[in-house]
Every structure is written in C-alpha cells, then in structure tokens.
C-alpha cells in the first residue's frame, strides 16, 4: 500500500488536473488554494495545542451512541487522536 502522503498527492494531482472523474473547474481549484493560504496565514497551526501541554479531557458519543471518555481510554495506555473534518 502506498504511503498516505503519496495517496493524497495522487488524489490532488487527479483533482487539480480538471479531468474526470472530478472535472474540477480551474476557478474552484484557485479558490481552494486561496483558502488554504489564508488559513495558514492566520497562524492557527501555531496556536493549536502543542507537545508538552496537557490535553483537555473529553467524553463524546461514538458511532453507536456509546459515550467514550478520554480518561477511560488513557487508563489503558497512550492515545492517538485524529481530528477529521468529515466525509464530504
């Protein structure tokens, strides 16, 4: 299986080519680039919680509507937390 970044790069290349299956218009691609540049310029990456800081605890519902708490998970060992914008 190719690395995650290679898969992302291939997707990006295909999307930004404007060809099928995505048929992305040039203007749309430029808008997306502008948004990423502007978001970076806000300094959000530097403001986010960093190594050495204490992670806030949480208790949220999973896909089966079972509440999962970070405290319970951390009692068992280290935790990888991935923030994901969604499937769309």
């Amino acid at each position: 299986m190719a690395s995650l970044q290679r898969r992302l790069d291939e997707f990006k290349k295909s999307f930004e080519s404007g060809a099928p299956p995505y048929n992305a218009p040039r203007e749309a691609i430029e808008i997306m680039h502008r948004a990423t540049t502007e978001l970076k310029a806000t300094g959000i990456e530097g403001r986010a919680l960093k190594v050495g800081e204490h992670a806030p605890g949480f208790a949220l519902f999973n896909q089966d509507h079972v509440q999962i708490s970070s405290a319970d998970l951390l009692n068992q060992g280290p935790l990888v937390v991935s923030f994901f914008r969604g499937h769309w």
């Binding site: 690395s3 749309a28 990423t36 190594v51 949220l60 991935s82 923030f83 914008r85």
Partner: protein, 132 residues
C-alpha cells in the same frame, strides 16, 4: 484516506497497548455510515459544535467564498454537522500519554498534507520504550 491509513496501523497500535480515536464534528448518523464503510476497529466520536476541537484550538470558520463553492458541489456542512456557522477543525493528529500530556502534535492547515501513520507508530514505539 486518513481513516484507511489509521486502520492500517491499528493492530500495531493495539499491540503497543495504545488506542486510536477519531474526532469529527459530523453527526452520528454520518459517522455510523463512515465507520461501517471502512470497517474500522477504532471509534469515531462526534464532537458536536466542535467543543473539543475548540479546546485543542483547532477551529476555524470557512470563508464565505469557500462556503459558496462547497455549496455549488452540493456539500452542505450545516446538514452534516448541524453547524450553521460553517466552522471546521484543521486536520491534526496527536499522541497523548497516560498522564494526559501531549507527546506528538501534527497540525496542518493544508488538508492535503498529513503525517504518515508509520511516523505516528514510530513515535508510539519510542513512547512505549521510554515507559518500560
């Protein structure tokens, strides 16, 4: 792609005594479908109105012009996330140790750039070696 890549390292992560959790603002009816589609071993948690993402200081608001573009693609965040303000988390992957301290933080405003799961696994191995 992030979900599939995390699933690929999931058994190795478990073997190290660690867990994976994905946090998204999406409503449960969508996370349920996503979980099923990729047959994930780990949970996807719904962070309604980005309360947790806010505490990690990862939240931004989509600019109007991008909101309009996504709408033209037929994608409506307010429906998926019950998020009329069109806020989202920047993609981020953290490793948190048993004491609650952040040991690795990868935050990238460009959602086409992600840390390799193999790198996350390497960091977890180091953490686990240091703990023993």
């Amino acid at each position: 792609m992030e979900l599939e890549a995390l699933q690929e390292i999931y058994s190795d992560v478990r073997a190290l005594g660690a867990q994976i959790i994905v946090i998204t603002p999406e409503l449960e009816r969508y996370t349920r479908a996503l979980h099923k589609k990729y047959n994930l071993g780990f949970d996807i948690l719904t962070d309604l109105h980005l309360k947790v993402a806010e505490e990690f200081r990862l939240v931004f608001t989509l600019p109007d012009y991008l909101r309009d573009l996504y709408k033209s693609f037929g994608s409506t965040l307010d429906r998926f996330n019950d998020e009329p303000e069109y806020r989202l988390p920047v993609p981020a992957r953290y490793i948190i140790d048993k004491t609650g301290t952040i040991r690795a933080a990868d935050v990238n405003a460009d959602y086409t750039i992600r840390t390799e799961p193999a790198e996350t696994l390497r960091q977890l191995r180091m953490l686990s070696a240091a703990a023993n």
